[in-house]
Subunit: 213 residues, 2 copies
């Protein structure tokens, strides 16, 4: 039995090569999933398309047997070439309607929302989930709007008709409060990518999440 | 009657926002085509996907009625979203087989080749044309291999089983010699994008090309 999208969102790893302390992304991802990460977003801002596709294929081959979905940040072409499970798009990426048309009805499409207005707009779309971003200020994203904060996140989750994952400043200290707002999961970057043991970090995060859902 | 790909390659404009002296790309492209440019490649390395798609759509709408094909540099997703006429891919972009599978049999796929070995490899693929790059050293591309030079270009053209367009250092002073090597056309960046009058520059280049084919 496949997990529902809500279950898949529970502990959602977003990769960041620059925050991985020089370790290969494949290692970070494999370890994170061994520790319990439920979904992986491959995010590459600098890679060539050839390298991006090759990496996506490697991760897809590693994750598919484990039933862990792989989504690609922004690049519909890379997702199509690697037959990834879907994409995650931001407000300045491919418009949702185009992404859906190119990917077909069965692929996962997640959309970042950075304001309550974005959520109202997303409610009109057939996206599979929204990423509410950022909850807290975070050093890994400098181009986002005002943080939602816990109260803002609670309102955002209530307002959304789609499953929700919270992102931005998620770590072992913050996830309990975040999950208590009612979101379906948390998306982490440095809390796993920069951890001494990504596997142990994922295990610890998932335990806190499961205890506070 | 549609032009053949060989005719479409004759004066091939590659856009470069940074070299357009602050003028909108739409203006550069419209003027260049009014002057005789036969094909346009939209190249955007920094734009968001949303902006890239929007610009591609605008150019497609402007060029389609004129019968001038629009190809997109690297980004298959943008080409698909905007229903461009094809893509131009480099050696580190999407592998050809993936690009063809995603675009279907009818779209134009051009491939940059930077060595004779690349040309031998390209001869085994069903690409629509190759871009031989660079012919001369050029300030607009810093990541390419040793220039072909005129003699190297002549050998490259002879070796290729595909239509050829020469790129790298093309301007009113160089195109006569370049076209005399037997290539089907020349691709220019700054010679049109940075010209005081892109229309006049295109007109002058096309006249030299036509006189030396």
């Amino acid at each position: 039995m496949n997990k529902t999208i809500c279950e898949q969102l529970r502990l959602y790893l977003v990769t960041d090569r620059d925050l991985s302390l020089g370790r290969p992304l494949q290692e970070i991802v494999t370890e994170a999933v061994a520790g319990g990460a439920t979904m992986v977003q491959l995010r590459e801002k600098e890679a060539s398309t050839a390298d991006f596709v090759a990496l996506a294929r490697q991760l897809k081959a590693a994750l598919a047997p484990l039933g862990v979905p792989l989504v690609i940040n922004d690049r519909i072409d890379v997702a199509l070439a690697a037959d990834a499970d879907g994409v995650h798009i931001g407000q300045s990426d491919m418009p949702y309607e185009d992404a859906r048309r190119l990917l077909g009805p069965d692929k996962i499409i997640g959309l970042s929302v950075e304001s309550l207005a974005d959520i109202e707009a997303a409610n009109l779309l057939d996206v599979d989930y929204i990423g509410i971003s950022p909850v807290y200020g975070t050093p890994t994203k400098t181009d986002t709007k005002e943080p939602f904060g816990l109260e803002g996140l609670r309102r955002a989750v209530e307002m959304s008709t789609h499953p929700t994952v919270a992102i931005g400043g998620m770590n072992a200290q913050t996830v309990a409060d975040v999950v208590a707002t009612g979101c379906n999961g948390v998306a982490v970057v440095s809390a796993i990518c920069s951890a001494p043991s990504p596997r142990e970090a994922a295990r610890e995060l998932l335990e806190i999440i499961n205890n506070n859902l």
